[in-house]
Symmetry: C2
Subunit: 258 residues, 2 copies
């Protein structure tokens, strides 16, 4: 998984195991609505490639014409917007089971980069295959559409975070990531892995690295959360959520007919 290693294309013998690889994705979908076996097969059949990328790789560049959408299987990726002056702001962060750029099916070119925050493994869905799904599977299409509008709901929450202090913003982020990881079994009530540098977290929250450091100390000293050594420890989740005024409703984690 070194930086020099080229993206690895799936061999045909792996086809049978794609369903396993998509388990987090299926869980993400079924959290929102039931998935039929035909729909499951259609999704498995739409995967063209599985690839790995090392931490730091830019998987997709803003403005590039997109021919496929990317599902995250393992690791973390972020979507990055670069401003005049080279400053970077992350506009989204993704965990396994998330479609990173399903919206590129409609947009054709993205308004942001996609970068690997850790070593990652992704599955590629060619737009031709997704368009076929949109022609033949109306309900599944609505489920995919749903994923993009939940993505937008998370964007809204990030926008609304703007009005709060650094500590509350960071607490909100920890609560959100905890809830999203919990959905795929990646968190316990006591915490979750968070293999990000303070500089990266600063670009997520919209702070300078220096102030992110002070904010983390602040959270640590108030006993709300300890972020250290690639781990977020949460002594009292309810207390953290109270402090962050966190309401997970915007993640739409309940099944409804769509």
């Amino acid at each position: 998984m070194s930086s020099a290693m080229p993206p690895f294309a799936m061999s045909s013998v792996d086809r049978g195991s794609i369903g396993d690889m998509l388990s987090d994705f299926f869980r993400t979908l079924e959290t929102r609505d039931a998935l039929g076996p035909t729909e499951r097969d259609a999704l498995v059949g739409a995967v063209s490639d599985v690839r790995v990328h090392p931490e730091g790789d830019t998987l997709i560049r803003a403005g590039q014409h997109a021919e496929h959408s990317t599902l995250l299987l393992d690791g973390m990726v972020a979507r990055a917007s670069y401003m005049a002056g080279g400053k970077r702001q992350f506009v989204a962060i993704h965990v396994p089971g998330d479609f990173v750029d399903l919206h590129s099916l409609l947009l054709r070119r993205l308004d942001h980069d996609v970068v690997a925050l850790s070593d990652v493994r992704v599955a590629l869905f060619p737009h031709a295959a997704l368009r076929r799904i949109s022609e033949e599977h109306a309900h599944l299409t609505r489920l995919l559409w749903l994923l993009t509008v939940i993505d937008a709901a998370i964007h809204r929450e990030w926008t609304a975070r703007l009005g709060h202090s650094a500590a509350v913003r960071m607490a909100k982020f920890l609560c959100e990531l905890h809830a999203r990881l919990d959905l795929i079994g990646g968190a316990t009530p006591q915490g979750f892995p968070l293999p990000l540098t303070q500089a990266v977290m600063a670009d997520i929250i919209g702070l300078t690295p220096v102030h992110m450091n002070r904010t983390l100390r602040n959270l640590r000293e108030s006993g709300l959360a300890v972020v250290r050594d690639g781990l977020a420890s949460i002594p009292d989740l309810a207390a953290l959520r109270r402090f962050a005024d966190f309401n997970p409703a915007y993640l739409y984690r309940e099944p409804e007919p769509r």
Copy 2:
């Protein structure tokens, strides 16, 4: 259009004029892809009601079960998120031709309020009718899907705005609104109507009203924009865009096959 007047339900004789009322909406769609006559008819046929609301009305409340989606015909509405302490943050603002809550078709209940920033007229699309479109018109469904992902792209831009000074944030907002109004013929290179109080603009940008006032004075004195009496005057649009580092690519205003 008084506050006491109940929402006005369309009489059947108005049916023929719905196509006219949707002209801004059709323009919004056709900016992104060609629309067939069958698709146009399907959209016209999906409208159940036309209603008016006075300024200040809350059209939709967060958490309410939604039975229809709302298209803005005239006026301006915003989507509002309320925080602990009663502080309000707008997470989106809409101009005629925008679907305000197309995403409620998938989400079923919204994570934000929708409030009228002026007297408004809206068209209602029952979810049953939209779901029928999603079963029978795959291409039109992708166009509607596209509208929601452009909405998300605007959310991302608002999130990325976070890292800038108050003056740049406001300048970015003015550039965006200018570009969006221009699409439906609602702006000239010299400016556009902006019937919002400074308090409302403060809730959009994420500032206190006092600081919004100073920021507007700042923009005025640097000759970049004069916001006054419900009007945004822009002496030199290119200069404002340079100052704001504004790139309208995220609005996806070019037609592409979808």
